[in-house]
Point group: C2
Chain length 419, copies 2
Amino acid sequence: MAKLARKVALVGAGMSKFGNHFPVKRNPDLWIDAWLNASKSVDNGIEPKDIDACYVGNYSSDLFNHQGHLGPQMANLVGLTPKPAPRFEGACASSGIALRQAIIAIASGIHDVIAVCGVECMTELPTAGVTDVLATASDSLFEFPAGATFPGLYGTLASAHFKQYGTTAEDLMRVGIKNHENGAENPYAQMQQSIKDMMASKKKRYEEQGRDIPDWNDEFDFLKSSSNPIIAYPLRLFDCSLITDGSACLFLASGDKAKRFTDTPIWITGTGQGSAALSLHDRDNLTSFIAAREASRQAYEMSKLKPKDIQIAEVHDCFTIAEIVAMEDLGFYEKGKAVEAIRNGESKRDGSLPINTSGGLKSKGHPVGASGAAMPVEIFKQMRGVAERNRQVKFDVERALTHNLGGSGGTCVVTIYEK
Amino acid sequence: MAKLARKVALVGAGMSKFGNHFPVKRNPDLWIDAWLNASKSVDNGIEPKDIDACYVGNYSSDLFNHQGHLGPQMANLVGLTPKPAPRFEGACASSGIALRQAIIAIASGIHDVIAVCGVECMTELPTAGVTDVLATASDSLFEFPAGATFPGLYGTLASAHFKQYGTTAEDLMRVGIKNHENGAENPYAQMQQSIKDMMASKKKRYEEQGRDIPDWNDEFDFLKSSSNPIIAYPLRLFDCSLITDGSACLFLASGDKAKRFTDTPIWITGTGQGSAALSLHDRDNLTSFIAAREASRQAYEMSKLKPKDIQIAEVHDCFTIAEIVAMEDLGFYEKGKAVEAIRNGESKRDGSLPINTSGGLKSKGHPVGASGAAMPVEIFKQMRGVAERNRQVKFDVERALTHNLGGSGGTCVVTIYEK
């Protein structure tokens, strides 16, 4: 059984504000924001001289910004030249991979302290360009010419889940409603508004403009209206995550060195990574991701924890259906049973297993290469009891998990955290 | 001092034929060729079930082939789904980084056996497109708008070396002449012809065409003629490496597991990685690469070897000047003294320190993301005494080194091998 040769701790974590920042801020500026916020979170402070390497996760600055070779550039900006600065890529799981490789490097004894950078600046391209860049994370030889971009691929996965398990469009909406409620409480989120609040503002605007006020009784009425158009059946606009610029920074240290930075490190006790054929037509199963099942199997085995031991999780809700599939792939619920839990409110902030208290990719935003590093930022805050506004969960979080998916499930990285 | 917690061995290595393969062969086909050749090199055989992960080095399939997320795709082609399949990038040092991360992962205890893939398919784009893609590995915000692509940047570095150390255009030519002599003996090289042979064929062709036969007495006459035009002063065509499609595969195993595959593993006893500001205007020194000095310092320290202990090396001759700078950065020669050694023939196959017996990037070819994994293929063959044709060195190689540079020196990875 795989195990790590040394203990690894998360001693600091922070992120830039997620949003539409280009051209005011690009990758370098976003990363510096994240670095500064993470630095502030380290109890006893941290400086470049304390750090051995900079591990950079980024999906495709090549295509988004016509700038490759991001590792040394990001390292140089924060005073880490000439230290090692590799870049890691696995589509939307890029900084999940950077995190995992940093854990492995510390365990190996080669480094004691690593800064993990996740960064992506997407809005330099127009929306159609972004869709095209993201689609290169699917099988561009077969899926591209068939017209399949990610909303289409995830629409296919959602349809399969509907057919096999009776999942409904309302269930997808419940995921979005919950995540926007959480994002409204996160000052770093791109959309800090609940669906209810959006609905109210829209009604107010219509009233001010002297237009007919829509007859919406609740969020579902709003989400079924033309205000929420279908993007790729059955996915509507509010089933899709956002196009975002942002960065996140994590400071990891070996067991020995962790004490120098804080008396209350968060221990990383499990890491797992899985892969799958890129194209959906090469998969046996459209209602589950083999990469996620494999990654979570490895992480649980390493940490000796079981799904029921996990108290909160940040999962990869690039589309609402993906959160439902994640809840099942991670073993939190039996196959086809996650929607029952969602209907019962179990994944809400005050439920029995809060999921995506940060707002998730849906509301916090999804700068693809940064998302895997931003998830542990939320876990770090929740485990320390310092999540902003009203989103701190009401119990002491001792065991947590992050689930970071790449493409339409070609890559998955799962990480487990303990106090 | 950084050291590895477990021993790591190279137990197999192979490459595809390097050359102009598109559209007959693309990344998947090239990788399968490399995989099969590497598999044949494993004494007791190797199968997918023996392997824990697939570590993929690639510079930018995003821009070259409009296909990102290469890790899971490469893993799937050789039966490694659903195992971990991260991709690593550091410009032309991408698969040097994949190799290094695989060494680290085995040392950490998380994996026992890893397949390292280096792959790049460049000729899908026309030459101008390739130049543009490569230039994104420099600082695209500052160097790009100034019109600096890689030949220009390395021309600047060569000019600085000329001025400071009296290096001449003939010295650069000596590097190219040697590397083509070596490449002529490598059946996997893109250009399997010495400069002398090229000169003779050109004379013969002129004769057949009834044209005036050029008055070339030796290679230098040829290399100073219009047959070798200036690309970016002082660099001429034959100072530049090739545009290439190709792949290389390495099988790494932990000390315990290595015995299962071979009785004669090559031990990896040192790894180092350094970084630098991407742009030349941010560097203190234009005649040396800080990333290379830092990477070699780390690798020597880990292996407890000194430069004088190294018997052969594969170094990153993306331009002829880069080989000269590498010989100095690695400590083989004092600053400014490498050209003396070159004039004396010390770096030739029968010299005291053979460099780039494979033909180097200059003659073997330079599929950028594959080059870092192809260097150890040559080292593996030379250390086992099985290099093809007439290029096997005449002594027993017990200690060797690879030097893999990214961009204009933003990244460097150095690896040390011992029997």
